[in-house]
């Protein structure tokens, strides 16, 4: 798969629905988030087509993304961003950087967990 350099983080622009945060930012790939956890997206990188598709589906910086489940055999992740459910392969999810400390504001609903 074609890779590009990580793009400029747009986290410079404050999230639209809240103010500054005190918690230290601990960046990690979305693929490292456990099932049932949520985190705010800080940066999208990876293949341009993938980034374009993620943006079009509403998976974009500053949104909170929930890891609803994982497919077997090292398969893709099942994410929820807003009202949209999305499948993302683990290696693509690794290019979605999230702030793992920033999940308390929009937890995963209990009924959405596998």
């Amino acid at each position: 798969m074609e890779k590009v350099e990580p793009r400029t983080p747009v986290s410079a622009a404050p999230p639209p629905d809240d103010g500054a945060r005190d918690a230290p930012c601990e960046l990690c790939g979305l693929d490292r988030l456990a099932c049932g956890r949520a985190a705010r997206i800080v940066k999208l990188a990876g293949a341009p087509r993938t980034v374009k598709r993620l943006l079009a589906l509403g998976v974009r910086p500053s949104t909170v993304c929930h890891v609803v489940g994982r497919s077997p055999n090292q398969g893709p992740l099942h994410l929820r961003a807003g009202s949209v459910h999305v499948m993302v392969r683990a290696d693509d999810a690794a290019h979605i950087l999230v702030d793992a400390n920033d999940e308390a504001h929009d937890p995963v609903p209990e009924e959405a967990l596998p």
């Binding site: 087509r49 589906l57 077997p72 398969g75 099942h78 999305v86 499948m87």
Partner: protein
């Protein structure tokens, strides 16, 4: 005075002719929206039974279109592939922009999913910026209400400056109002708040671009001049949907200068820390978020989505694989259980027609041509109608119900090792029944490269037609180990399939599918529409692939029927000529080599050919006219009974092998030769219909590649088997 069947207007109707102010009004309406928003349902509600399906100009991308005959004029409706963005993030999406760019007479009907309003409004914002007259059809508002959200069309209309009409595409409710509103279609406005520097740069570019959208897309680096046609005429559209090979569009005059200026502006923005690509998308999302917030209000008690509960089972990491296996098995079973009895019925009809033809007072050669070439050829083509129709109906159901996306999710881990998307598992499973519908089903894959790889790989999977050949040979040569040999052949076929997929992974250029896909909500698709589209697609296949199949059947008839001056049949002469080529793999008997030729029409025909050459011809049964009709009627009733019974029975059942032929073969071939014949039959070209299907989907070049590849691997594998066992 004729009143329009939708809007009720008469002389004053402005929809398809000249508007009230004398200005011309669009005759082509493009339905644009994100996937699964109900565009096809809406086009069906607008145009009824006039739906057609064809490929978009110069591509293999399927586009539905229809002609709506309003009393006030005729409107062409074009159902463009579902797209999340005008810039396109998948090949199917990439036809949307050229379609709108290339037609100055376009009216855009943006179908918006009320249950996913915010996401869909980002596309609406792009369409407004693109600048074609627009009307918004707000679909699935009833579903949104059930989910606790009321969407106010008037608020959307105020925010966008275009007519917004609530419709229920499945039932046709609101369609009349939509048609009336189309007369008020407007360019609209979208007050998207881009960062100041980006706005200024876009303003400078806009003077050199056809629209604000083009300026922003060029700035964001999403714009590709090659996709923009110079004139409307370069992209033919409409109900005459034979849109093949129109050639690549010419690049317009403004393309290069705009791209160059955009490059400069983008560089400047990047230097000041602005990534236009992300910021343009972010600004549109904020706009969509704000508009959706203004246009929706909570209503009633929100009911929990049943889809979430279903997903807890279907997508569960432990239960999921079993659900996947059960789903694939059910799809496979239904495809063939519902179609096989009708394939058999058509075969009986064909037999009766052939008997009648041979009884006609015609010269023997003419009668033989009528029955053996014309009726046999047409019968071979028509025999695919039940299986393709059933397959298309099931695929349409799975896709529209949101189930296909779940299959892709569950199988993705498995298929990823082959570099294929999860959806590729379905064509592979369908190949066990018939390769032709399996090739057709590759259309559901996102990337052309993946479609081609799968289509080239699946002919090695043993289809149902090959099973009688294997059973005959296994029963004749290794009766004690017949089950083991049959299992081994299936494993061998799958190994060859994986090998082919891996070989062409490196050999074929092109993009791979993105690992990102929406898991849409579960919905019950309108059954009538699914069946109608299945029929339209089946007709499209027959129109494209029927000709080559008829030609090959006629050639095989000529080989089998015509004789040389010495009295030897052409078939025997050709078979004897080919025998030395097959001698190294243990097949030096011309009768066996000859059976491989009619085997190109259908694998089970090999048995008939060998029966003819090894044991002699059966006398053709004569059928009276009345007797034929009675036979057809009885076969029809039997097909109905078998359809019902087949739902609970096996679809891979085969007749008992011909014992007489088996003993003759056992006397003529060694064990090594028989195993070699089985492997060659397993791997060489499945049938001419498969080749025709590949040619229709990918062109003559790749059909030829498929034939050459299958012959090559069949020969090498048979040689290895003969060397090992011979």
């Amino acid at each position: 005075m004729n009143a329009c069947s939708f809007c009720g207007l008469a002389k004053t109707c402005t929809l398809a002719g000249t508007g009230a102010d004398g200005a011309p009004v669009a005759r082509r309406w493009y339905l644009v929206g994100t996937p699964n928003t109900g565009k096809t349902s809406l086009i069906n509600a607008l145009a009824g039974a006039h739906l057609e399906i064809g490929n978009w100009s110069g591509t293999t991308i399927e586009v539905a279109s229809a002609t709506a005959h309003l009393a006030c004029g005729t409107v062409e409706l074009i159902d463009l592939p579902g797209a999340y963005t005008l810039a396109g993030s998948a090949p199917d999406e990439e036809v949307v922009l050229p379609a709108l760019d290339g037609d100055d007479d376009a009216l855009v009907v943006n179908v918006v999913d009320a249950t996913n309003l915010e996401r869909d409004l980002t596309l609406t914002a792009e369409l407004v910026e693109h600048g074609r007259p627009l009307v918004v059809a707000l679909n699935l508002a009833d579903q949104a209400r059930k989910a606790g959200q009321e969407v106010d069309p008037a608020a959307l209309e105020a925010a966008l400056g275009v007519p917004v009409v609530e419709v229920a595409a499945n039932t046709g409710t609101g369609v009349g109002a939509l048609v009336s509103a189309a007369a008020r279609a407007a360019v609209g406005r979208a007050d998207v708040a881009y960062p100041d520097a980006l706005e200024r740069a876009a303003g400078r570019l806009q003077a050199h671009a056809p629209s604000r959208w083009h300026a922003l897309a060029a700035l964001a680096g999403e714009w590709n001049p090659a996709t923009v046609p110079a004139t409307a005429a370069s992209v033919p559209v409409g109900a005459t949907v034979d849109l093949t090979d129109a050639g690549a569009p010419d690049e317009p005059d403004w393309a290069d200068p705009l791209a160059a200026r955009a490059e400069q502006e983008r560089g400047g923005l990047l230097a000041s820390g602005i990534d236009a690509f992300l910021d343009v998308a972010e600004a549109r999302h904020r706009f969509a978020h704000a508009v959706a917030g203004r246009a929706t209000r909570p209503v009633g008690e929100a009911t929990a989505s049943p889809g979430d509960r279903v997903d807890r089972v279907v997508l569960n990491p432990w239960l999921g694989p079993f659900v996947l296996l059960a789903g694939l098995a059910l799809t496979f079973h239904l495809t063939f259980a519902l179609s096989d009895p009708w394939v058999g019925f058509l075969g009986e009809v064909q037999g009766v027609l052939a008997a009648w033809a041979e009884a006609l007072p015609l010269p023997a050669l003419v009668g033989s041509f009528l029955s053996g070439a014309v009726i046999e050829g047409v019968g071979t083509v028509v025999a695919f109608v039940p299986v393709l129709f059933t397959l298309y109906a099931l695929l349409g159901f799975l896709e529209n119900a949101g189930l296909l996306a779940r299959v892709a999710y569950l199988a993705d881990g498995l298929m990823r090792s082959l570099g294929l998307p999860g959806r590729a598992v379905l064509p592979m499973v369908l190949s066990l029944g018939c390769t032709v519908p399996a090739v057709q089903s590759t259309k559901m894959l996102e990337q052309p490269r993946d479609r081609l790889r799968v289509a080239l790989a699946i002919p090695s999977i043993p289809c149902g037609a090959r099973l009688p050949v294997f059973v005959l040979l296994a029963a004749a040569f290794v009766p004690q180990y017949a089950g083991l040999v049959l299992t081994g052949l299936y494993v061998f076929g799958f190994v060859a399939t994986l090998f082919t997929a891996l070989v062409f992974r490196g050999a074929l250029k092109g993009d791979t599918a993105t690992g990102v896909m929406e898991l849409p909500d579960y919905r019950l698709p309108p059954v009538a529409l699914v069946l109608r589209i299945a029929w339209v697609r089946t007709k499209a296949f027959l129109a494209g692939a029927g000709g080559p199949i008829l030609v090959v059947v006629a050639v095989v008839w000529a080989l089998l029927t015509l004789t040389l001056p010495g009295g030897t049949s052409v078939f025997e002469a050709v078979s004897r000529g080919l025998a030395p080529i097959f001698a190294p793999i243990g097949l030096d008997d011309w009768r066996v080599v000859g059976a491989l030729i009619p085997g190109l029409v259908a694998k089970e025909v090999m048995i008939g050919s060998m029966a003819l050459t090894f044991t002699g011809a059966d006398a053709a049964a004569s059928v009276s006219f009345l007797g034929g009709l009675q036979h057809v009627a009885a076969s029809f009733l039997e097909a109905i009974r078998n359809t019902v019974a087949g739902l609970w029975g096996s679809v891979l059942a085969t007749d008992a092998p011909d014992a007489a032929l088996g003993s003759r073969l056992a006397g003529a071939l060694s064990l090594g030769s028989a195993l070699s014949l089985m492997v060659f039959s397993l791997l060489y070209v499945p049938c001419v219909a498969t080749v025709a299907a590949i040619r229709k989907a990918f062109g003559t070049r790749y059909a030829a590649l498929s034939v050459a590849w299958q012959l090559a691997i069949a020969y090498v594998a048979a040689l290895l088997v003969f060397l090992a066992f011979g």
